[in-house]
Symmetry: C2
Subunit: 317 residues, 2 copies
């Protein structure tokens, strides 16, 4: 029988796990061709709108394969429900036996996404961060802000959200971090104040414009993971000195890069995969003045790494 782990126990187990080096290892393995990660499975719904992603695979030489299912239904909050749900499944690679059902309700997906934001910032953000900028005042915005502090020192954050109520809740929840939180309904303000920006919304139209972006800014876009979603004007990618993706193959079908390439704003020739940036110092930010962009669509290696670690921390039933 597999161990079935509810969210509260997953959170307890995470106390003994440092996901940052794990997620780094995952990206490196992926870009070195050591991971078997088939194309993302996807279901898209229109009424009510929602998307479901199935990400799965294994790392060669490892003990497990993992299947992760995560959904986002943007109208859920109107019904008093969280927008995300999901679970991760850990299987024995040599027998197919199901080892663990991690009922993470989307938390591990949120976590590995926030950690990926920190990994990106570690290698691409300017050394001196004046303020962190968050576009999207949801759960992911909160988590990104916390994880960015692992890799860069900053005292101030500016946060864009859809309405004052959402922003007030964000400020309240983040008060305990000791950060000075400024909020705004104009995304332009984020670009004016912050030089390390993360966008984390389910938007299907650009929220940040190229004209607003100052030299020396790094932007990580984590919200767009389908062919419909987009957070950055394509001209931002065209203007950037470096455009990094978590997965070259996934960027052919989804995310900011897909949108920018489809619009003819950029070619694919200069794209670099995150695992290579981690591996090769020559591919990282070269000066404090560069504009850098990372487009994260979320790769199964992140799910494999985080769920295997949680399973091991929980132990056998």
């Amino acid at each position: 029988m597999p161990v079935v782990v509810p969210l509260a126990e997953i959170k307890k187990a995470l106390a003994s796990v440092d996901p940052l080096p794990l997620i780094e290892e995952g990206f490196v393995a992926y870009s070195r061709g050591l991971a078997v990660v088939p194309p993302v499975g996807e279901l898209l719904f229109e009424d009510p709108p929602g998307d479901v992603h199935i990400k799965y695979g294994y790392i060669r030489g490892g003990d497990v394969y993992v299947v992760k299912i995560a959904s986002g239904f943007v109208d859920n909050p109107k019904r008093g429900l969280p927008s995300g749900d999901g679970l991760m499944l850990v299987f024995d690679r040599s027998t197919g036996a199901l080892r663990a059902v991690l009922l993470d309700e989307g938390h591990l997906t949120n976590l590995r996404t926030a950690v990926a934001g920190a990994v990106v910032a570690k290698y691409l953000a300017p050394r001196r961060v004046t303020a962190a900028g968050i576009v999207g005042a949801g759960v992911q915005g909160r988590m990104q802000l916390e994880w960015l502090r692992r890799v860069r020192a900053f005292d101030e954050a500016i946060v864009w959200g859809l309405d004052e109520a959402e922003l007030a809740a964000f400020s309240r929840d983040m008060a305990s971090t000791g950060l000075r939180i400024r909020t705004t309904l104009r995304a332009e303000d984020v670009a004016a104040a912050a030089n390390l920006i993360v966008t984390c919304t389910p938007s299907t139209r650009p929220l940040l414009e190229a004209a607003w972006i100052r030299p020396g800014t790094h932007i990580t876009a984590v919200g767009s993971d389908t062919s419909e979603k987009q957070e950055l004007e394509a001209a931002i990618l065209a203007r950037a000195d470096r455009v990094v993706v978590d997965s070259l193959s996934q960027s052919e079908l989804r995310g900011e890069v897909y949108k920018a390439v489809s619009a003819g704003a950029i070619g694919r020739g200069s794209l670099v995969e995150l695992g290579r940036v981690i591996d090769d110092p020559g591919l990282r930010r070269a000066s404090e003045d560069e504009i850098t962009v990372a487009d994260l669509t979320g790769v199964a290696v992140q799910d494999i790494k985080i769920s295997e670690a949680v399973w091991r921390a929980v132990g056998e039933p």
Copy 2:
């Protein structure tokens, strides 16, 4: 919280479910274009050999979407383990909330596959069955034999297996059915005695040859669900009066039809989908002399139908 249902409770719940009409409805919905079933997700392993299939989707207008994961690791029995494992997941179609984790250990996949064999036989087998033939003396062979009796009357079965021990176990297990069970190590004997044959092995080389097949025989091949596996000589499909598939799109990449088309033995023009055969009496067996073949690779609609029914029978937690 989702309801987590172990195999014993799934079996109890099945007592109040008749899967045959459900599976029929599923195939009909699928062939009418009412089901959203993306391409099968697949992981193939070499050492030890195994395959994992992820089948998922929903029926338009329904309340749920379903993700099913099933594995087959052929060397497991050498280690005292069943070759198959897996689970089915039922989600709310309008919120993405996980409703049920059915820890079926592959049983529901086995069941919906056996039921599909019965659905096929209902429409394509000769009216008078002299003996049922089973190629492959495993769990699926046992279940096929039981389900075939739902749709055709017969007293005798002839079963091919890999060795005498396997066949003795099969005969012992099936004694309570009242069927006369003959066993053989020569697949030719099955073709000589039976006019309703089901092949259910993980073989990667043909087990039945065209020269052995007598007029008036129906064969359902359920074992081959990858691009590697094959149970029927391609010439059998070429000789058949009708070749039916559960999924035209899946048959482009996997199963007997994939093998026969790749070998140039048949074209795709005359293939008919099972849901259409159920819908249209003109597409069924036209005489007792026809040779008919059905190639089943397993379609997510079967998983959707069976898991939704089990979830409803179990009830909310």
